[in-house]
């Protein structure tokens, strides 16, 4: 029952993140012109989808694909979290930057500030995803905190 509740909460939090990405990101970072263009080009949603997908994908990889006893310590989990979050941040810089370049805008410095917030969001979502799905992993369900 507890496990199902955790999974439900994880899905709920992720859906809220996907449904209201502009509110969440703008609460962390707002600069009028940059934020307006992020909104107008629908980039908040794209960034939110990338962030959520990598977080859930990374967690799934750790708990169900790797799922190894020799890779089940907390620092293994932390390494996976770090790699997933950095990957997300790089992707969430590169894609909006390419869109803005196409439009002739230079928002590179604003994107750095925005990516810091996105990095925090990626970390938070990886934690959420981990606590939502770890319970059914045969070898890693005690990672990062024992049950």
């Amino acid at each position: 029952m507890k496990n199902a509740f955790c999974l439900g909460m994880g899905v709920f939090i992720t859906l809220v993140f996907l449904l209201f990405p502009s509110w969440i990101f703008e609460a962390g970072y707002y600069e009028t012109e940059f934020s307006n263009e992020m909104y107008n080009e629908n980039l908040y949603l794209v960034v939110a989808v990338i962030t959520a997908a990598v977080a859930w994908g990374g967690a799934a990889l750790f708990y169900y694909v790797v799922n190894s006893v020799s890779f089940s310590r907390w620092y293994h989990w932390l390494l996976t979290l770090g790699v997933a979050s950095v990957l997300t941040t790089v992707a969430c810089y590169a894609y909006p930057n390419s869109v803005f370049s196409e439009l002739g805008y230079d928002f590179s410095s604003q994107l750095v500030g925005f990516c810091l917030i996105d990095f925090l969001a990626a970390v938070a979502l990886f934690v959420v995803a981990s606590f939502a799905m770890r319970w059914w992993s045969s070898n890693c369900r005690h990672t990062p905190i024992p049950e």
Binding site: V11, N36, L45, V46, A52, W56, Y64, M133
Partner: protein, 460 residues
Amino acid sequence: MKHIAYAALLALTLTVASCGNGPRKELNKLLLELADADQTIDGNDWQKIAHFLDRNKPHFKEFYDHGQIDVDDVEDYISDFFEHRRPSKHIAFQGIGAKQPTFHIYVERSGSMAPYDSKDGDGSFRAAIMALQNNLPGTATIDSVGEKGYTNFQQIFDQILNRTNEDQVSILVTDLIYSVKDMQGVNPQRVFSEIEGMTNAVFKSEVKNKSMLVVRMMGSYNGPYYSYDNSVKPFAGRRPYYIIIVASNTNMVRLTHDATLRTFADMERMRGYDNMCLMTANDIYKPYYSLLLSNRDVRGRFRPERGQDTQIRSLTGVEPDRNSGDIQLALAVDLSHLLIDQRYLTDVSNYEVKADDDVRIKEIRKIEKADMTPAEKKYLGTATHIFVLQAASIGHGQEVEIKLLNRMPQWIGAASTDNDLTPDANTTFGLKYLLGGIYDSYNRNADDHYYFELELVLDR
């Protein structure tokens, strides 16, 4: 695992949906190029959009009905696109899908019109008519209207107002001197009553759909002048005559917004131009406007509300200046492309300001070079003037509405005489009764008693 698979599927779907559809992105880019700055899609813009859609027909099947572009669907798409952007914009459509309007020039042929075109004159009258005709796209026919001995304005105005259809623009050149068949020994008061009767009979509900522009011109006049009692006096000098343009409300706006018609509509540049008055029953104009964040006229502290881009219309944290103790805001407004005289536009008394606090317009001035700083250029947009708004303080969040009132201009009263037994260079017999009567008809049928409205939000 099932949930994870669903979440991944959702993520993939959303990503594909937001990344794909190149032609749609190209269309959106085109729309931004055409309408983001002036918030208007005119005939030329429409041609570009139609051409783009035609080249990419397979990608935009929803915009086609039996092989033809569905104008309403495309308009809806454009409106939605701009309304859901930041900042949200309302797009005006002018002459979309419709044919180019046809133009008819009517010249009144009463005896008192001939001296304007006298061989002893300076030719300004003929030059003005030729300019009207030449500046129009395509060919415009010139017809004579009225009778030689008198002017039946009931018939003339009925022709140009009530029998002008949606796609037509009628232009009447006249001296606007009202006369009836038998003027011998007539009392001027009777003429004025007849004018009132005529305006009431002709200018009815149709004025809701059609606007009328009265342009006062000055031209040389050499010849006999017929006074109200039919007595004739020779007159040599300059006399006023009038160019009256009647068009649907949409076409009246199109005259100054459509690039192919702008030369024609630039009345103030015409030789002999003196003044003008636009009669309309609606707020037909939607000019560009934005508050400036810094300007020599700005006093006090404030910051723009979030979510605004190049048009700042909402301020928060508005506080008085510490030195002067008051607040001054600089509002950049585009006063070009309006068929309203510059003197009327820049007269502060023609504006009404509605706000909870005592906000008023201190000054309206043209934008100068010093106003065009790199940081402010994006807010200036197409603006031509700066409205300096002043207030002692802003007590609470409030809407500020600034309206350019649709008033009968003072020049009409000043250019009117009740007695033309001695003709002069400035006045027209019974003008205030004729134009006043027409203005009253518009006023009675008006939905809005202003030409345009500027809406701001100020919060402390």
